[in-house]
Amino acid sequence: MSAAPPRGGYLKQAWLVIVLSLVYGGGLAAVQTTLSGRIADNRRAETYDVIPELVPGGDKGKTEELLVQGADGKDVRLYQVFAADGSHRGWVLPAGGQGFADRIDLLVGLSADGATITGLYVLAQKETPGLGDYITGEDFRRRFAGRPAGEPLVVVKSDPRADNEIRALSGATISSESVAAIVNAALANLREAIGAGGDSPQGVQETAPRQQAH
């Protein structure tokens, strides 16, 4: 009889938890709907601020925001970066995926021909403080600069021997691998759209009005 339901049945015991979950879930959905636009604007402003760091020579006032179709058939936001003199310097593509603790959002800088990674920036992460959150540090992010964008990156625990190898953060292998996997997935998804090497990506659907830097 040890498996008998509690007195009054499960529902009588747990109804408050169920009702609260629904009420709180609705509340959170409302908050998210209300604030998500504002949060996205903040992220976009931050993206423009770090463009010169991600694409050397890039000018944030000369950046075009595009919507292109990725290999998965969905629209992907993409930033086409120009120098102050108007020459095409590269691309910045937002990427995101699951990390060790929570979602990680990244910005990946690419050269104009789409063949080389020029920079990496972490927009949002909630990795373990003191271990995984070192993915935001310059020391880790620099390990990605200059890597080929054409082949998947591999995370290794020793000094990298091949061009596409990235040394993991010690104590944060999963966070390091998550970042590499997110970069790989985003590059694979957009390879066709920007891999043509020209100045105009294929599959462009719509050009958003040029954003003024904040």
Binding site: L28, V31, N42
Partner: protein
């Protein structure tokens, strides 16, 4: 309401100094050590914690008649987690820089023992008025404690307070005060001073009582 429970005013005053969550109860050490390298992150954390504590205390107090004893911690955690998520989104929307700087420490408010202990000790037993007073007192006590540590660390470590320069430009800035060891050193010294002061006061009171 049982008559032996403290009143709203007592709850409020207790939270500030006599039962200060940091200096007297030693609760919530994670944010105390992690976000006190400057006044701005410390005060943002104090505000976010206050928001969660006040909302959770009121909510728990309102539903206290419906709580099942063996499910109460689950309900507390659910309530706290909801308000923490709201606080996290509000910070990301309105103080984005601080939200980035605090990073994972905002979601970690969920496991801040101060909040769950107030739900357990006060809000699940007393009315909403007392619960609000309790939450305000504890939040104020928490904010004061964070401010005291952050003041020492920011002035010695960076020569600034709330980002404004307060020491001469030649101040070298004690790097260790900005780093984690500075948090432990400052907390230890301030805790020692608080303990010393309270023992002295108790001793004075004892002597005063003896001569009467």
């Amino acid at each position: 309401m049982p008559s032996d429970q403290p009143t709203a005013l007592e709850r409020f005053i207790n939270g500030i100094l006599p039962e200060n969550p940091i200096y007297r109860q030693l609760l919530g050490m994670c944010p105390v050590l992690a976000v006190t390298n400057g006044m701005k992150p410390a005060m943002t954390m104090a505000a976010a914690t206050a928001f969660v504590l006040i909302c959770a205390n009121v909510m728990v107090s309102l539903i206290r008649g419906l709580l099942k004893p063996h499910l109460r911690i689950l309900v507390f955690t659910l309530t706290i987690a909801t308000f923490v998520t709201i606080a996290d989104r509000l910070l990301a929307a309105y103080v984005y820089d601080m939200s980035k700087q605090l990073g994972p420490y905002v979601p970690l408010i969920i496991v801040n023992c101060i909040i769950i202990s107030r739900c357990e000790i006060c809000a699940s037993k007393q009315g909403a008025g007392v619960a609000i007073a309790d939450a305000f007192g504890m939040s104020l006590g928490f904010a004061l404690a964070l401010a005291s540590i952050a003041t020492v660390r920011e002035i010695l470590g960076s020569g600034t307070w709330l980002g404004l320069p307060v020491l001469p430009a030649g101040w070298p800035g004690w790097g260790i005060m900005v780093l984690p060891p500075g948090a432990f050193l400052t907390l230890g010294l301030l805790l020692g001073m608080a303990e010393w002061a309270s023992q002295r006061r108790a001793a004075v009171k004892r002597q005063g009582g003896g001569t009467r």
